[in-house]
């Protein structure tokens, strides 16, 4: 009852929204039944359909109308009166603004007359597809204009499939939003991240301002979403302050009354022929947390000889700040080269003063891709220096046996020098990676065998070496609706240091049995053998489609160790929306019966 009252209030709220758009040229439609889906922006109509526009009158049996493209079709015993001209056909394809018609009749041949470009490319939604959505309307009469505004009469709005209050007349689609200051209903969302949410758009249009803000009223607790905030208002969007019709200050905002958080940002940017600059101030915070301020500025010279430097300065309105310069280097066309220098000073809970120099380079050839990075960082407080260098060469994929076997090889070199007291610890790590994979080979009796193999080796400072091997083998056989597969994985890790070698192997084995008939049932049975190749667990999942859209599902997980049934769930479920389903059943893990709505 409580939910019904909430939906009732919501319906009245929607119905009370002002109608501010005046229709331009429009099409007036009447019939026994129309169905409009807000999400698909689509109308289906049936029974004694009439469409009237200026000097055109169309009568027929069935209507499909895509509101976004303003294209539609009328089927049945179609009659068209255009001025003094009268015609009949069985399918009439049309565009609404301007009105263009294609008449078709079907016998041994398709006979076409009229605008031939209006071919039957229209997507047609069945009523049950349109009803499977969060918000739809049933009505008997509507008017649509070229801005796609739809005003209907004798309406029942359905929210989450539930009928709400019948309405005599209502604008069910606002259409293209006019360029003027206004507030209007934007959409209704159920089962989203914010639970049940109704969103209004606040549009500001004036000589000195241009902006759009969303005002979202959300209710989480009603739908069982428990993430701290039960309900609230989310205000978000951005706006520009204008001078001579150009933006000189942009501000964006995010205010949430639910978790009492805010984020405000002011941005100013100018672009000139040879340079541009930007200034930005951000303020953000949350209840019981200190506010965070940050000022960021950038100045970029578009090109000086072979450089395009950007100077930046950042300040957090306390005592921490940073400044620096970075630039691409346009020396060689195919080589991407970047250099940057910056200094960062932090004076908050701790003090820090660092100077960084970085450079990176990359280029591609037909046989390999090369990339390098170098970073030099100096701590200005204790003069400690940290350095990192890396180089990577990745060869292009090698294909064999008509791409059935592929080999990928890459090699890398890393160097780091990290300060430790008065010393510096240097470390070099060259390495190589390789992956060989196969799509599989067909064996006798319909078996498929797909092996894959990968290795990587690292020489760590020439003292300690690491080598990994990974091997996988999959064997599969399909027999109608039944599929059996066996997957074996072996991972070997070796570490050699000075004169001794450590090594370990891990392996596992899976056997999967699947029985699938997509329209009726699906069952998966999995056996898992652990590193000692001893059976560890067995899992089963299954679904059976029942009449009236119900599905019977089961999940079970059995551990051999201790002979215990870890999980057993038996439940019925029914899809109630395109993104939500109702579940009810028994869970052994929870040791109770349950009924819940889950979104997916």
């Amino acid at each position: 009852m409580g939910n019904f009252i909430r939906l009732l209030c919501l319906s009245l709220l929607i119905a009370a929204l002002p109608n501010v758009l005046q229709a331009a040229a429009s099409i007036h439609c009447k019939g026994d039944y129309f169905l409009y889906s807000d999400e698909k922006s689509y109308i289906y109509g049936a029974g004694n359909i009439t469409l009237k526009s200026a000097d055109v009158l169309i009568k027929g049996d069935v209507l499909y109308l895509d509101v976004n493209s303003l294209r539609g079709v009328v089927y049945g015993a179609v009659s068209v009166k255009k001025g003094k001209e009268k015609k009949t056909c069985q399918a009439l394809f049309f565009t609404a603004f301007p009105i263009k018609l294609l008449y078709e009749t079907f016998s041994d041949k398709v006979i076409k007359e009229g605008s031939k470009e209006l071919n039957d490319i229209l997507k047609k939604y069945a009523p049950k597809e349109l009803k499977n959505l969060e918000l739809y309307f049933e009505f008997r009469e509507f008017r649509i204009d070229k801005y796609k505004k739809i005003k209907a009469k004798t309406i029942i709005p359905y929210i989450v499939g539930l009928p709400t209050v019948p309405i005599k007349s209502f604008t069910i689609k606002r259409g293209n939003t006019p360029e003027k200051t206004m507030v209007y209903f934007k959409n209704l969302n159920v089962f989203g991240l914010e639970g049940l949410a109704v969103t209004f758009l606040l549009r500001l249009r004036g000589k000195f301002i241009k902006g759009d803000f969303d005002v979202k009223l959300y209710e989480k607790k009603l739908l069982g979403i428990d993430d701290g905030s039960k309900r609230g208002i989310l205000f978000s969007g951005s706006s520009d302050l204008l001078a001579k019709k150009k933006s000189f200050l942009n501000f964006s905002t995010l205010l949430n009354t639910g978790d009492k958080s805010y984020n405000l940002s002011f941005n100013h940017r100018r672009d000139f022929k040879h340079f541009n600059y930007s200034l930005s101030q951000t303020v953000s915070g949350r209840e019981k947390m200190p506010a965070f301020f940050q000022f960021v500025s950038n100045f970029t010279v578009k090109k000086i000889l072979f450089l395009g430097p950007t100077f930046s300065f950042t300040h957090n309105l306390k005592q921490s700040y940073s400044y620096g310069v970075s630039t691409p280097v346009y020396l060689l066309k195919k080589v991407g080269l970047n250099m940057s220098w910056s200094r960062k000073i932090i004076k908050e809970n701790y003090n820090s003063d660092t100077e960084d120099f970085s450079t990176s380079m990359n280029f591609n050839t037909s046989i390999a891709a090369f990339s390098t990075n170098y970073n030099f960082s100096k701590n200005m407080l204790d003069a400690a220096i940290r350095q990192n260098f890396s180089a990577n060469v990745r060869l292009s994929t090698l294909n064999f046996l008509d791409k059935n076997v592929t080999i990928d090889l890459s090699t890398f070199y890393m160097f780091s020098a990290i300060p430790s007291g008065r010393e510096s610890i240097n470390r070099t790590s060259p390495g190589v990676n390789g992956v060989m994979a196969s799509k599989g080979a067909l064996l006798p009796f319909g078996f498929t065998l797909a092996p894959s193999f990968s290795f990587n080796h690292i020489w760590d400072s020439s003292e300690e070496n690491f080598t990994d091997f990974n091997y996988q083998l999959a064997l599969e056989k399909k027999m109608g609706k039944f599929k059996a597969s066996l997957a074996y994985a072996l991972a070997s890790r070796y570490r050699s240091k000075n004169f001794y070698v450590e090594g370990s192997n891990t392996q596992n084995l899976n056997v999967n049995l699947e029985l699938i008939n997509p329209a009726r049932y699906s069952f998966y049975l999995r056996f898992y053998w652990n590193n000692e190749l001893a059976l560890e667990n067995i899992s089963l999942s299954g679904k059976v489609n029942l009449p009236a859209g119900f599905v019977f599902s089961t999940l079970a997980l059995y551990y051999k160790d201790g002979s215990r049934l870890q999980t057993l769930e038996l439940f019925l479920e029914k899809k109630i929306m395109h993104n939500a389903k109702l579940q009810g059943g028994y869970s052994l893990a929870l040791k109770r019966f349950f009924v819940k709505v889950v979104s997916f």
Partner: protein, 120 residues
Amino acid sequence: MAQLPYLETPYVAELSFFKKIENVGGELEKEKFADERIKSPFFFLLEIRELENSGELAVSFYDKEGKRVKRKVFSFGEDGQYYEYILFFDSVAGLTAGKYRYTIFLNDRLIYGAFFDITE
């Protein structure tokens, strides 16, 4: 509000194509095309909802030039009976690869049509 809208007109709920459809004890066993591309021969499955009384349903196939190449006719129902839905299916063979169009006539009135492709 005695004039509230109510859908009581037959409509096409679904039309889909399969490699094979068999009626096994009143249940339809459907086999999909492996890559979901329609190849000849094929089966079509049509679901019409909100039907009353007896009638005739015709599914016609037209080639790219608009010439009818196949027509399948079904008689259904009994007078005085209401059917929430009826499933119609049949096989179509002998069509070469290309673009085709189908139309669905219910009691001589066109209620639906669309294009589809047959691949090699």
